[in-house]
């Protein structure tokens, strides 16, 4: 709690930050000088330091979303120099200033998507992702009705693959990075997680139909397999999940309409 380390490596940076008062206001990029940034700071701590100063200068501190600061809650996320979550393929909170060099000008903007309206500055409304889950991103298992956990063995490979997909933190970087503003990687991660497990089979068709329907109703774009999403995804959700979603959806439509 005391003693900052070595200050000889400190950097002077210039930030250009998107400032927007509220959802209906216009925004603009505003410049700030941030001197003496320690390379050991996290990106958000650097913003904290700037905000402390802005507060004392009677300026409005920059609003940004964050909570766990350890890369798991998915709350944080800004576009840094045009790249969602910045240069290190991690969450913004896990990005450290040692990834930058003295004198850098860093451009910071919110996620941009028609389905993520800006709330203020760098904060956006990602409720659309929750609504995609509401549409079908679950297994219906009312409390108390479950059989013994060992009643249904799950092949380890399936369990591991389901886990890989289940690690999505719902940050929305995929949407911010996708040139089409598609949330397909997010949606596909859930389809894959639940679709690989035996417990997820009964609702598999309706799940994909409902979730894709909601994805589109929210106004997200379609996926044209550009792959930026997976390249910035802090949890490395695989692009194959999207192929899987497509197969599931086409299969579900076939079985729904063949009847």
């Amino acid at each position: 709690m005391t003693g900052s380390g070595d200050t000889s490596k400190d950097m002077d940076l210039k930030l250009r930050v998107w400032r927007q008062r509220g959802p209906k206001d216009d925004g603009a990029m505003v410049e700030y000088d941030v001197p003496a940034v320690s390379p050991d700071m996290s990106f958000l701590e650097m913003l904290d330091v700037l905000n402390e100063r802005l507060t004392l200068e009677d300026d409005d501190p920059i609003a940004f979303d964050h909570d766990c600061r350890e890369g798991i809650c998915g709350a944080c996320g800004v576009v840094i120099n045009g790249i969602a979550h910045g240069p290190e393929v991690t969450t913004t909170c896990q990005l450290h200033m040692r990834s930058f060099t003295d004198g850098d000008v860093i451009d910071i903007e919110p996620w941009r998507s028609g389905s993520f309206p800006v709330v203020k500055d760098l904060v956006v409304d990602r409720g659309s992702l929750d609504r995609i889950i509401q549409a079908g991103g679950y297994i219906s298992a009312p409390t108390g009705t479950a059989p013994d956990a060992h009643a249904v063995p799950v092949p380890k490979d399936d369990a591991d693959a389901a886990f890989d997909a289940a690690t999505c933190i719902g940050c929305g970087a995929c949407v911010a990075a996708c040139p089409n503003g598609s949330a397909m990687l997010f949606t596909a991660a859930k389809i894959t997680h639940l679709g690989l497990l035996p417990q997820g089979q009964p609702e598999r068709d309706s799940r994909v139909l409902d979730m894709v329907g909601q994805h589109d109703a929210e106004g997200f774009g379609g996926c044209s397999q550009i792959g930026e999403c997976t390249a910035v995804c802090p949890k490395g959700i695989s692009l194959s999940t999207i192929s899987r979603l497509n197969v599931d959806l086409l299969g579900a439509l076939r079985s729904t309409y063949a009847k």
Partner: protein, 648 residues
């Protein structure tokens, strides 16, 4: 001065809901005796649930499914981001899938003993009983627990117990469990049984005719102060470790909901019981905003040491073997690096206090894998701990394969919380408290992988079987915004916000929070003394006065205003901090995570005083300038014999 000058003693308190009889049957008995609500009537009954962590989301999903009208709140932009998401290690359950001698009774026994005999036997036994159903429920929801090649669930041993009863999902168990509960919750949102409000912070409780009937929340986007009403209120608002500013908790974790309820009459139990986790990444500078936990599993293969000489600033590699002090192995030869959390933490503090700490500020000890790498090979160490090593490298910029990691203890969990009875009902009728927010099951020290278990037990199984006993008397008389109690509560919130904005002082909210944290860490952290606690109380009182005189909150209420949000939380933390110190001062024994320097054995181990302190300290609010009122709930042990812990 005596301790008494800071508080007054009130009537003893008793849990009237736990049935008597054989401990194995108590939960059955209670479920049988509790009044039921018939399904048709449930639609007419409403429940407010604040918090969407494991405890809140599971309760909302279950009660929504049961047919009640549920309204749910969280301060994040999505219920999925509650801090339960961050739990790494795993969740305990007495499944005995390993056939290694585990049983409900053993889990019960371990938990009571691990809690250093400051928890209730009835509650803990029920927790162990329900643990079994939790795993079933989660698997049915699609939680991808680790599995073995045969397709069955894998288990590991965790937190120094001798059986393998911990279910896990890589290092992200909390995330997977929470997503399971979140999905169940969202399913109910779609079904219309749960009305979900994100970015809404509860700032006040509404009590009508002595019953909890609603909450005042602030819409964090528009600033609107809203009143919501229901037949019962559930707080599932998590722990208050952030009173220390630096902790492994998320930045937004707070005590506000609980503290507001406390000020309205809910007793706050054992506030000073905090758990300090030994393996966290040390602080690197003044700007530091939070501390990151490194999984405890690292202690299985890493060796902990510091230089023998004070102020030895050589790089680790240059310190020869004979000049290193593997202090845990030296002091606790039987358990070595695997001693329980509180013991490992205190030992690290001691060596650093002696001036032998390493890294910036001398607040760190080495966790060295050189031996493990030599013994097991680099590849095997990498396979086991690779992701943790990567995380460490990312945060510190150092390569832990080459130089030993530096670790230091950090505040991690709070065992204290609002007092509840066996039904999880607080001292305010109609207000229930679940998860880390209540004090119930862990006594003075929580075992690893037991918090997730408790949160889900409360939310999926306990509350849904006890809240009906209260609701069966409802629906209660309708109340709305025009009720004097609602008007008053709302006014209170609005006035407070207006005050924050009007002070326009010269210090930031965070500067107060950091100062409070430093006081708490120095005097109410790993080691507490009579004198230190008195100093702390005086300092906190000064800090409080200065806060209300000199804090600077910019902006207005009618917008997203993160400074304003923090100001409210810090104001409550300051008051809580004082109560924690008062509680710690009164408890002149050492137990679990609470170490009073005055109460130790000759060789420096914690010494309980069962004669005088085998009670839950449940504190009543004493008014703005009054003294808190101590109500004691006596603890009796019929099944587990009280023994002094020893890890030598």
């Amino acid at each position: 001065m005596t301790a008494d000058s800071y508080h007054v003693v009130g009537e003893p308190i008793r849990d009237t809901k736990a049935p008597a009889g054989d401990i194995k049957d108590r939960w059955d008995t209670r479920r049988f005796e509790a009044k039921l609500v018939n399904p048709a009537n449930r639609r007419k009954l409403s429940i407010i649930i604040v918090g969407t962590g494991l405890a809140g989301a599971s309760a909302a999903a279950t009660l929504g499914e049961a047919g009640y009208q549920v309204t749910s709140f969280c301060y994040q932009d999505s219920p999925r981001r509650a801090h339960s998401i961050a739990a790494q290690g795993g969740i305990n359950a007495a499944k005995n899938y390993r056939n290694d001698g585990d049983s409900i009774y053993r889990l019960f026994y371990d938990t009571v003993k691990g809690g250093d005999f400051r928890s209730r036997e009835s509650n803990v036994y029920r927790l162990a009983q329900t643990s079994v159903e939790i795993i079933d429920q989660c698997v049915a929801q699609g939680v991808p627990f680790a599995r073995e090649y045969g397709g069955l669930l894998d288990n590991r041993s965790f937190g120094g117990v001798q059986v393998s009863r911990t279910f896990y999902a890589r290092g992200q168990t909390g995330q997977q469990l929470l997503i399971g509960a979140y999905q169940a919750l969202e399913r109910q949102v779609a079904a219309g049984t749960v009305d979900m409000h994100t970015r809404h912070e509860m700032l006040e409780l509404i009590i009508v005719d002595g019953k909890a009937r609603g909450v005042i929340v602030r819409d964090m986007v528009s600033g609107e102060i809203e009143s919501h009403f229901a037949d019962a209120v559930v707080l599932a608002t998590g722990g208050y470790g952030n009173v220390f500013f630096l902790s492994t908790n998320a930045m937004g974790c707070n005590v506000t909901a609980n503290w507001r309820a406390h000020r309205k009459g809910a007793l706050f139990a054992n506030p000073c019981f905090t758990q300090i986790h030994p393996t966290c990444i040390p602080v690197s500078g003044d700007y530091q905003s939070k501390l990151t936990l490194m999984s405890e599993s690292l202690r299985n293969d890493g060796r902990i040491w510091v230089p023998k000489a004070k102020g030895d600033a050589r790089p680790a590699a240059d310190i020869p073997e004979e000049e290193r002090d593997y202090y845990l192995e030296r002091i606790y030869p039987a358990f070595g690096n695997l001693v329980p959390r509180d013991i490992a933490s205190r030992a690290a503090k001691n060596v650093c206090d002696e001036g032998r700490g390493v890294g910036p500020g001398g607040l760190g000890v080495y966790l060295d894998f050189a031996d493990a790498i030599a013994r097991l090979g680099l590849a095997s160490v990498e396979a086991k701990y690779g992701n943790l090593f990567d995380m460490y490298a990312k945060i510190t910029g150092e390569n832990p394969y080459q130089t030993p990691m530096r670790i230091y203890p950090a505040v991690h969990y709070t065992m204290g919380g609002l007092w509840v009875d066996y039904d999880l009902q607080s001292t305010i009728p109609g207000m229930f408290v679940t998860g880390e927010a209540n004090f119930s099951d862990h006594g003075a020290n929580r075992l690893g992988a037991s918090a997730l278990m408790q949160g889900l037990a409360d939310g999926y199984f306990v509350l849904p079987n006890t809240i009906n006993d209260y609701l069966a008397d409802g629906p209660f008389v309708p109340v709305d915004e025009t009720h004097p109690a609602a008007i008053e509560a709302k006014q209170l919130v609005e006035d407070r916000i207006a005050t924050f904005l009007a002070i326009n002082g010269s210090r930031t909210v965070d500067s107060f929070h950091k100062e409070l944290g430093q006081i708490m860490w120095d005097y109410c952290g790993m080691e507490r003394t009579d004198e230190g606690l008195r100093t702390a109380i005086a300092k906190i009182r000064e800090l409080k006065a200065e806060f209300w005189r000199d804090v600077k909150v910019s902006g207005v209420n009618e917008e997203l205003n993160q400074t304003l949000e923090r100001a409210g939380r810090v104001a409550d933390f300051i008051e809580l901090g004082e109560l924690m110190c008062i509680d710690a001062l009164d408890r002149r024994e050492s137990c679990g995570g609470h170490f009073r320097a005055e109460s130790q054995t000759e060789d420096g181990e914690a010494m309980r005083d069962d004669e005088n302190f085998a009670y839950v300290a449940a504190w009543g609010y004493g008014g703005e300038d009054g003294k808190p009122i101590l109500h004691k709930e006596a603890l009796e042990y019929e099944y587990v014999e009280m023994k002094q812990r020893s890890y030598k």
